[in-house]
Symmetry: C2
Subunit: 175 residues, 2 copies
């Protein structure tokens, strides 16, 4: 892959909220998880976990935990990515909280881009009630849900939301 | 880019801590930042910022703030990526803290992969003293540094650190 490919690759991804509820493709899932496994992590601890949710009833319960967002119910698979606080904190103490949140976000970004490489739609969903998600997924207390990544065959609607001019983000040498 | 390309692409990246201190390539930097600009963000608020550091004295000061890690001094460019708490919290309150940390991590992952697409080495560096980094980069109080991403021409040393078996991360339907 050369550089022009990568820019085009990321520019053609957008967050999709409309899915065809087809059976999950196990091979695609395995591929997505293999890609995520190559993500870097703080101290190589890989302080992230994922719950693969495809059961319709559990997706419905997750959708309810996610402020009733219908795409969580409709997508054939939801990858619930979490920060594993205890794994990072066992080495890094309180700093481990930041590290685990980064690890989970990096791995989830890899999953999102791997899905895109397969031609699958996805939607990073951060709006949910932590405790409700914990209950639905039976997460232990030291596991913090970070993203419900909806994945599946989906309809491109309107393309990528316009972005701020990059200058809004960039500072040179200091703020 | 097809799927096999993406898996190969991410599998050939590893964290590099040995750099040739050549002048920063402005075109490469612009490309990396353009890619980052396409990253998704919570509520499309893009609650992240980046300070592009190439001045040798400031890199040295940053290296000191980063527990004296020499690669921060040696890499020609350090992209100091931060979470913009106030941008996310202005809409989402306390939940905005998580959102801004995710936004910064996603954008930084895009930068890291964009550098890789250009054949540049990089190293996600999370170990630093927040207050020292704040001082060196003159960050306002509502801006939390998340990653010092070293970027530059570098020497691949030993390849990707071995990963945990993916099964360690994956749970099906529930924990």
């Amino acid at each position: 892959m050369d550089s022009s490919d990568f820019l085009e690759f990321v520019s053609t991804r957008s967050s999709i909220r409309s899915y065809r509820d087809e059976p999950p493709d196990e091979q695609a899932l395995a591929y997505i998880l293999s890609c995520a496994s190559t993500a870097p992590s703080m101290g190589n601890l890989e302080s992230w976990d994922v719950v693969v949710v495809s059961d319709p009833e559990r997706r419905a319960a997750l959708a309810e935990a996610a402020l009733d967002q219908p795409h969580i119910r409709e997508a054939p698979v939801v990858l619930a990515v979490s920060a594993n606080y205890v794994r990072a904190m066992s080495r890094y103490g309180d700093r481990g909280i930041l590290y685990a949140l980064c690890d989970a976000s990096i791995a989830c970004t890899y999953m999102m881009l791997a899905a895109h490489a397969l031609g699958l739609a996805s939607c990073w969903t951060g709006a949910f009630d932590d405790e409700d998600v914990r209950t639905v997924l039976e997460l232990p207390p030291h596991i913090r849900p970070v993203c419900l990544l909806a994945i599946g065959p989906g309809e491109q609607t309107s393309g990528m939301t316009p972005r701020l001019p990059i200058e809004e983000h960039v500072h040179v040498e200091a703020w």
